[in-house]
Symmetry: C2
Subunit: 338 residues, 2 copies
């Protein structure tokens, strides 16, 4: 027992009159050790209070014991449920989750990536598909298994457990148009470096383009996903001469901000203006009026992402991207007009 008094594998070997190789075998593949030897070792471990040293293990073997996730933010509930499911699935496989946040900043994301790798991550969960060449090069160079979630792209290399933001927003916008709305405004997330926000904008534009004779995009404001900024954008929109009949929001947090601000201003939703969200967070059903939004299968997605990542780590050939479908949830904040 060296300096720090912490018993090592060697101490166990000495104390049980076998080699370190045998103790190691006992620890990792007990069935490869004779029964009588097993109990000797077991006793020695008990007596010494031995616990394997992670550093030694990591260095000597190459097993993945941890994976990392980098999410834009833990504030708000946007990613909570997905990450919860991701972590639970990892835990079931005896893998620990390292987590960090990037604040929607690609530079920070790269930095966090490096730091997670340095912390032993043997795989990564990333949000969205848009990142600088430098980051991609790093990932590639390290040959690190990773899964992209919250987004989905067809026919592209890489592995996804996500959904098509553009399609989902398109579907919702089609319904909005079908409901008779011709003057659409959008309050979106900031699309730079954020393909989810960007995709949602594109989806709305696509739908409008299909009805370019009658429907138009009155205004588009990009802003941070916060209730307050959503409220501010709402004020800006409603002070236009050319007011929208519906405000499509890039997520539920923005929509909550809009609905709250509308109440403060005495503007009625949906009588004076309709509102839609995206995500179907808890908040969506709790708002007054309840929010028409897009339901994203956060939980299933997080879990699937973990399973996929695990397969990649194990070099399982059956690893395959999964696209989740989203669902339009019609509630009271969107009304038929015209």
């Amino acid at each position: 027992m060296k300096k720090r008094g912490i018993p090592t594998l060697e101490d166990v070997a000495l104390s049980s009159n076998v080699s370190t190789a045998t103790v190691s075998r006992y620890l990792n593949n007990p069935e490869k050790v004779a029964k009588s030897t097993r109990s000797q070792i077991q006793k020695a471990i008990q007596k010494l209070g031995y616990t394997p040293n992670l550093g030694g293990r990591m260095l000597a073997s190459n097993k993945v014991r941890m994976v990392g996730a980098i999410i834009p933010t833990m504030a708000n509930a946007m990613f909570s449920n997905g990450i919860q499911a991701f972590q639970e699935e990892l835990s079931r496989n005896d893998i620990t989750l390292l987590i960090s946040s990037s604040g929607y900043d690609p530079k920070q994301e790269l930095q966090q990536m490096q730091s997670l790798l340095a912390s032993g991550a043997g795989g990564l969960l990333l949000i969205g598909n848009e990142r600088p060449k430098k980051t991609l090069k790093f990932l590639n160079q390290r040959n690190l298994p990773y899964v992209v979630t919250w987004a989905y792209k067809d026919g592209v290399e890489g592995f996804y457990a996500g959904f098509n933001n553009r399609q989902a927003a398109f579907d919702l916008a089609k319904i909005v148009i079908e409901y008779g709305h011709t003057k659409i405004a959008m309050i979106a997330g900031i699309s730079e470096n954020n393909d989810r926000a960007g995709g949602r904008i594109e989806g709305v534009k696509d739908a409008i383009a299909e009805h370019s004779d009658s429907v138009r995009l009155v205004d588009l404001i990009e802003t941070k996903y916060r209730m307050e900024t959503g409220g501010n954008a709402f004020d800006a929109l409603m002070s236009r001469v050319d007011k929208p009949s519906v405000i499509m929001c890039g997520n539920d947090v923005l929509a909550a901000g809009v609905i709250m601000r509308a109440r403060q201003r005495g503007i009625r939703v949906p009588e004076d203006v309709s509102v839609t969200g995206f995500d179907d967070l808890n908040i969506a059903s709790a708002l007054t009026p309840s929010l028409t939004t897009v339901r994203v299968p956060h939980f299933a997605m997080g879990r699937a992402a973990a399973k996929l990542l695990l397969k990649l780590i194990r070099k399982d050939d059956t690893a395959k991207s999964i696209e989740f479908s989203t669902e339009i949830i019609l509630r009271d904040s969107l009304r038929r007009i015209g």
Copy 2:
């Protein structure tokens, strides 16, 4: 570059014409390396995409590089902001966060604890103060630094960065009583193994006890922190002959469920019944009516917890528990009566 193609410190040394010792120094104490050497090494690291190997580092030195957090759940926004702040502060100190969730189950908490330690955690963030002897013994035996948050206890061993749930609930209940409410019902979280939920219940009871001649606790329902269970509890309360004039909820999620269900039932808040929450999540201000609640300084608390834990890890003598005060946020869901 050995087999797996992952560059090692040696590769960097080779590529920059210095010894591994110097590269290591550059990594750990750049100021001990000549400027010109630094930039050589920097270039090589860039070129190779080198990231230090954790196993090697852990084995060679004894520095703490990761700490773990075990939170009851990541679903909902309850802990999100606190954990976000915690992680950011750790990141500033080059420490990675290992995270896991216990589902409010003490057995799982212990298991997660062991697994986080086996994953290299050199310190722990724990929520609340109530845990089985077995868990405490384990913590003690490992002599592991840990900080308790979301709770605070005076004159007890251990380190806290939290607040007094009982006092906070007491303060809110006093105001409720001052507003003229005499028939109080409470929908609380499940208090078994949850001192935060328990403390909030006690606080309300304390306040009622001070007015036992005029005020009483009509009913107390303990349930999971979910909107739906909150709604169900609301139904149960409003089907009583002896209806409460106010429903104090153990947190904002429950309160949101109550307000939503009330609307569905055609029961007006606060005209027919007042409602209060706890936490001041985003949702609180977005509800209609907006929710009277207790504001918890999640962000400051998470950050302080990280700083405290870091001090404990560094064996800094100035490490000291911090108690945060909470604030009553008066909004529309609570009205004066009588």
